[in-house]
């Protein structure tokens, strides 16, 4: 037996993209990228907090925010500027950051889980499932509707019941869409998108029906604006309701990020490398649904954040979920804070629901991605 004949390495100068800091270890890479994005997020918050009915200079806003965070910048805490920034504007910004982070992280997780760069909680119907859960709870239990979305008073009973209803709706939809799109151990892109279209329209129809049947014109406007995704009037109460499920889900998903890397290549492949695929799939589906549901229950179905943010970041830092997931979280937060600032200033003094802004940006982006992937979309 002759020794192994090994073909010469192909040395053609084929271009291959290099990702940012590809030669660094994972920990420094994570620290650097997260640090840069955290600065970006802070910048976005300063910009967003400075825009509004009264424009406040960015420097004053930054000082006020830092003072509020505990770094003594010698700001007069009784001044109107400080109060506008920290009492009037900050709660909404924190909700925007939390929701944006959750949607982007859930989107990145679903893209890995479905092995599909076009998966997004909105597109595949998970957000619509969460919305339906919320509307069902609001319309069936009048007392919940009074305290959720409509008044700025204490949340009372709605505190955990509304997010719980959203979670049930999201999880059921996520499982249905997964089952519908699975073909021979991998999700088919066309089947996934079609299942999403079908589920979105069914959920949307039921949601509309419930709202029409309970026609209460006072609440209709608030519910409709929430449905397309709005951060209007969301204060600390809402932030505190959603923060724990979102942060805990993020941490747990991070523990599964290496499994996600393997699952992306194929489920049998992941199993051959020691991943308990059925269990991992269920856990990740549940956690990403929980994140989506938490975000949707406070801010409605804000679309495309989970699609755009992980996509852009993957182009820069590569597909390793151990970096991609935390980075998407911070990037998503910055993205939604900026989108919200835009929504508040485009037709000022009127407010535009932020979901409309993300749809106007994200829709064309999604069409572009479809166009670029057109060869891989085969229906049969």
């Amino acid at each position: 037996m002759s020794s192994a004949v090994i073909s010469p390495v192909d040395s053609s100068p084929r271009r291959h993209p290099r990702f940012l800091l590809a030669n660094f270890g994972i920990v420094p890479r994570l620290l650097i990228v997260c640090g840069v994005l955290a600065l970006l997020l802070f910048g976005a918050m300063v910009y967003a907090a400075s825009t509004g009915p009264t424009t406040i200079p960015a420097g004053d806003v930054a000082d006020a925010l830092l003072q509020y965070a505990g770094w003594d910048r010698g700001v007069d805490v009784t001044s109107a500027t400080y109060r506008i920034v920290t009492v009037v504007r900050l709660p909404g910004l924190m909700v925007a950051a939390l929701v944006g982070g959750a949607l982007a992280c859930a989107g990145a997780t679903m893209q890995g889980l479905f092995r599909n760069p076009l998966a997004d909680p909105g597109i595949i119907g998970v957000s619509a499932g969460a919305s339906l859960g919320v509307v069902l709870a609001i319309t069936q239990f009048a007392t919940l509707g009074d305290s959720w979305l409509l008044t700025s008073g204490p949340l009372g009973n709605a505190l955990w019941r509304i997010p719980a209803a959203a979670f049930v709706g999201a999880l059921i939809t996520a499982m249905a869409v997964y089952a519908l799109s699975l073909q021979r151990g991998r999700t088919n892109l066309a089947a996934l998108l079609l299942a999403g279209v079908a589920l979105n329209s069914v959920m949307g129809a039921i949601t509309s029906l419930l709202l029409l049947r309970s026609a209460d014109f006072n609440s209709m406007r608030a519910v409709l604006s929430w449905l397309v995704g709005s951060l209007e009037g969301r204060g600390w109460d809402y932030f505190h309701v959603a923060k724990w499920p979102i942060l805990i889900s993020t941490l747990l998903i991070l523990l599964y990020s290496r499994d996600l890397n393997l699952m992306v290549i194929g489920e049998e492949n992941a199993q051959a490398l020691g991943v308990n695929v059925p269990r991992t799939r269920l856990i990740l589906l549940a956690l990403s649904s929980l994140m989506t549901a938490s975000a949707v229950s406070i801010a409605g179905a804000i679309g495309f954040v989970g699609l755009i943010v992980p996509h852009m970041l993957r182009l820069v830092i590569g597909p390793d979920h151990r970096v991609l997931l935390p980075v998407s979280m911070i990037g998503g937060a910055a993205f939604l804070v900026l989108a919200d600032a835009l929504a508040r200033s485009i037709i000022a003094p009127e407010l535009l629901p932020v979901g409309i802004v993300t749809a106007l940006v994200g829709g064309p982006f999604f069409i572009f991605l479809l166009w670029r992937n057109r060869r891989t979309i085969a229906v049969f």
Partner: protein, 265 residues
């Protein structure tokens, strides 16, 4: 009762597998020892790939018993199996741009807990596996940009980083040019000879199977027709039964390889 080989890595006994009412495997019994390359041959649909999926624990639901090292396969966790058996799968589409280095490092997954990052030792194992498969030059390339032969070598490197006892290869030479077919099988042959690995490979080409494998298992319609040395298995009678063609087998006077000439009707 089958004789138990002390060196046996994996022993499959009376494997019977039915899928959608079709019998895919019928009473299959065979064993693999350390330091042995076993070739699975037979026409399409003979059950070669299914057998590989079942002995690797990837598919469950087969009757019969599979003994891996010293205990039943189903007593192992997915993770434990991945520390003993490594597979070289067919990867078709890759939409996510992982580098070759990252793909090979994935072979360390069975040894890393959720709370761990790869250590220097893992990186050394990856480095060594890439040396042995001559893939170091590809480390920075994206997996999606590789040719079929390069990709196959990368997947073998990944299998080696699992530090397995048993290597399973499903049609490792499918869609490869002849020089890459020889390269891949020669590489596996070398690993088996020098590292004491056991290997099972489903191989389409009978002459290549005869040339590189220690032992051949000839299958047809889910059954084993013959099991033994290449010369003993690739007889005109067996080939007639498996493929329904007349043939002559002879030793090539120049190379010394077994050759099979399929005759016209």
């Amino acid at each position: 009762m089958t004789a138990t080989h002390t060196t046996s890595l994996l022993q499959a006994e009376h494997i019977h597998y039915v899928h959608d009412g079709n019998v895919i495997l019928r009473e299959v019994t065979f064993a693999v020892a350390a330091g042995e390359l076993v070739g699975l041959i037979g026409p399409n649909g003979a059950g070669k790939s299914t057998l590989i999926k079942i002995i690797s624990g990837l598919w469950s639901g087969a009757k019969g018993q599979i003994i891996l090292l010293d205990k039943l396969l189903q007593r192992y966790s997915t993770r434990q199996i991945a520390q003993i058996i490594a597979q070289v799968p067919q990867i078709t589409a890759l939409d996510f741009p992982f580098s070759v280095q990252q793909i090979v490092m994935m072979g360390r997954n069975p040894y890393l807990s959720r709370f761990e990052l790869e250590t220097q030792r893992d990186r050394q194992i990856v480095q060594r596996a890439m040396q042995r498969t001559n893939t170091l030059d590809l480390a920075e390339r994206l997996i999606g940009t590789l040719s079929g032969g390069e990709r196959q070598r990368v997947l073998i490197a990944r299998a080696l980083t699992q530090e397995p006892r048993l290597l399973l290869l499903d049609e490792p030479t499918a869609n490869l040019d002849i020089q890459h077919q020889i390269g891949i099988l020669g590489l596996v042959r070398n690993l088996v000879q020098h590292e004491g690995l056991g290997a099972v490979a489903a191989v389409h080409d009978l002459e290549l199977a005869a040339r590189f494998c220690d032992r051949l298992v000839l299958m047809r319609e889910g059954e084993i027709l013959a099991n033994g040395s290449p010369a003993a298995v690739l007889t005109p009678e067996n080939i007639q039964r498996a493929y329904d063609v007349a043939s002559r087998a002879y030793t090539d006077p120049i190379t010394g390889y077994l050759r099979i000439a399929v005759l016209d009707d």
